[in-house]
Symmetry: C2
Subunit: 373 residues, 2 copies
């Protein structure tokens, strides 16, 4: 993406998000919001640096940053006042609030530490504090066009890396350690435009695939055993998240049946996605198939979760989820079956909710034949 | 490192750290400490997983984790009670405190959010809260033998990757983007045993090197221009942090003089390191030389910082630092001179404070000749 495009997106979309946030919070007069969580700062003003806060009030937005990021902030955050602090960030908050009639301040309860609260105390004086976590969280669930464009890029970078890997064939994978395959995927995502992986890449071979949160180790991959790979890219602040099981050699018979159940469950889950349905019902559409096939006990996690500026965000697709889907949400759909001591299968794609239905953002095939190296 | 070695280190060193922490805090009877910051949890019990808390009281240590990490915890944390929670982590805190005569609880002010504090409220009831940040921070500054061994491994992984890169010669570097060189270094560190980079690798070519906190971009590296590389590895939870400037081709005359000033300043800074000297005086030993050479205005940051479980930790070597060095501290020494619009030079090594002096943990040469590709 060109610099000009980024600047325009920041001007158009980020300012639209700030307006929507103020509207959603309702309280405007005499009220300011202090945004401390990095991904939210980026969401609301386009800034990609660190150690910076965003203050929002009626008709006024101010990014508090330091000398390291001043030129970056000026380029990335058109329409936002940039305050370059020299002292502590909390002194800076006091400085920019001075003379403004602000009586109440919204803060991110989940992203302010007790220490920050104490230091902030002096800066905000007698002003009252209210949590704003929910209102920002609700807003961020529904992605706008600029965000969807970036998630697509993150999906593409992840898929490019995977395609490179499987194009090497079984000879490349066999004999290499899980850790090395993870490192190669991360490297290839970087070459494809990612700033890095969106989480620690999982490469689990043989029985290790039975552990849903396995971390790749020194174990060398052997011929004829499946390898579960769960990986994603971060591109311009947005995440993708995918899973495939690859087969360097023959498919173990115990896995073939499980694979087919998971593949069908995933298709059913995806087909259930459309605006206004409950997140719970999407989970259940996939879970039912796994239960029916007799593997219910092996599907030990939720069906999926939102992705965006963070790789795990709302909404969650699970048995006890309470939300409903809305157009613009982007979720993973990732049923899995784990057979302790034997192995496991999980298939994961990223799906955008659109009016009347859904659109898969990822395009890797899911059939078992296409995963044989 | 073998699993057995890790287990023994965890048993011997981690339990020693817990004893030292209880001793340093002084208050023991009726008091518990709730450790919520991941690196501190790892430090105090050897655990390498996530989303887990450590509770320490008189003669009792308990790791609160969940099903994903229960077998990992059992392996990594001998001598520590493992509580595998099913509900929320704060309900678990209430559960394990039940029936124990704990009147006060130490918490990490810088690592507990307002939301966690609110949820914790129910779990700890009327018990009073005290900050324990400082006492843990002081302890962590001085590294024990197990920690130094891991920092050495992190240094080695970073150096291996760098040596691989420069052994490719100028032909490899020229024409590749900064971002690609950063990705290659990260990949090579992984192959050398790192879990990842210890921070976002900086590759700054030409005039970009004048920005101390530059992020690598799409700019392609040209022949005859210097490239500043600041990188480090994370190995088994410990960080290294190094900087070199490499020259694919000829050395620009404007840079040669600056390079020599920085090299001498670094040597002077390192030579000033020994137990009991003030951190300030170490900074000043290097700064004086840069000032004298007329480049004082170009050295815009402190001389160095501690490394360990985090890539930036106490003590800081800077003009307004107040600590004194102690044997067992590990610090970076990284003077730099930045010439806006022209370029910059920084040379950084990792140094262990030992009785009577210092020992460099990193071994890459610093002379300008050795950095010509």
């Amino acid at each position: 993406m060109t610099k000009q495009r980024k600047r325009n997106d920041s001007l158009v979309y980020a300012s639209r998000r700030r307006v929507a946030l103020r509207e959603a919070w309702g309280k405007t007069d005499g009220v300011a919001m202090l945004v401390t969580h990095g991904p939210d700062v980026g969401y609301l003003c386009g800034f990609g640096g660190e150690d910076s806060l965003l203050l929002l009030a009626q008709g006024w937005s101010c990014l508090l940053t330091d000398g390291r990021f001043s030129s970056q902030a000026a380029g990335q955050c058109p329409g936002v006042e940039i305050h370059v602090r020299s002292g502590s960030i909390f002194t800076a908050v006091a400085d920019v609030l001075k003379g403004r009639r602000i009586r109440r301040i919204g803060v991110q309860e989940a992203h302010v530490t007790l220490l920050q609260r104490r230091l902030l105390g002096g800066a905000i004086g007698a002003r009252r504090i209210r949590p704003i976590d929910e209102v920002i969280g609700r807003l961020r669930q529904v992605k706008d066009a600029a965000e969807i464009r970036l998630i697509r890029k993150a999906v593409r970078a992840a898929e490019d890396a995977f395609r490179w890997l499987i194009s090497r064939g079984a000879a490349y994978v066999v004999g290499r350690s899980e850790r090395e395959i993870a490192a190669v995927l991360d490297y290839r995502m970087r070459l494809a435009g990612a700033s890095g992986p969106s989480f620690e890449t999982i490469v689990a071979s043989g029985a290790n695939a039975a552990l849903p949160h396995y971390r790749p180790g020194g174990r060398k991959i052997r011929r004829d055993e499946p390898v579960l790979i769960d990986w994603g890219a971060m591109v311009d602040g947005y995440a993708s998240d995918l899973t495939r099981v690859i087969f360097p050699g023959r498919i173990p018979p115990s896995i073939a049946e499980v694979y087919e159940v998971v593949r069908r469950a995933q298709a059913a889950g995806i087909a259930a996605i459309r605006p206004a349905v409950s997140c719970k019902s999407v989970d259940s559409a996939a879970r039912k198939l796994i239960d029916k096939a007799g593997y219910g006990g092996g599907f030990v996690h939720g069906l999926g979760h939102g992705i965006g500026r963070e790789v795990h965000e709302a909404p969650s697709l699970s048995a006890n989820a309470r939300n409903r889907l809305r157009a613009g949400m982007v979720v993973t759909v990732e049923p899995g079956i784990y057979l302790p001591g034997v192995g496991g299968v999980r298939i994961e794609d990223d799906v955008l909710v659109v009016p009347g239905g859904r659109r898969k953002l990822s395009s890797l095939p899911t059939t078992i034949e296409s995963m044989i190296l």
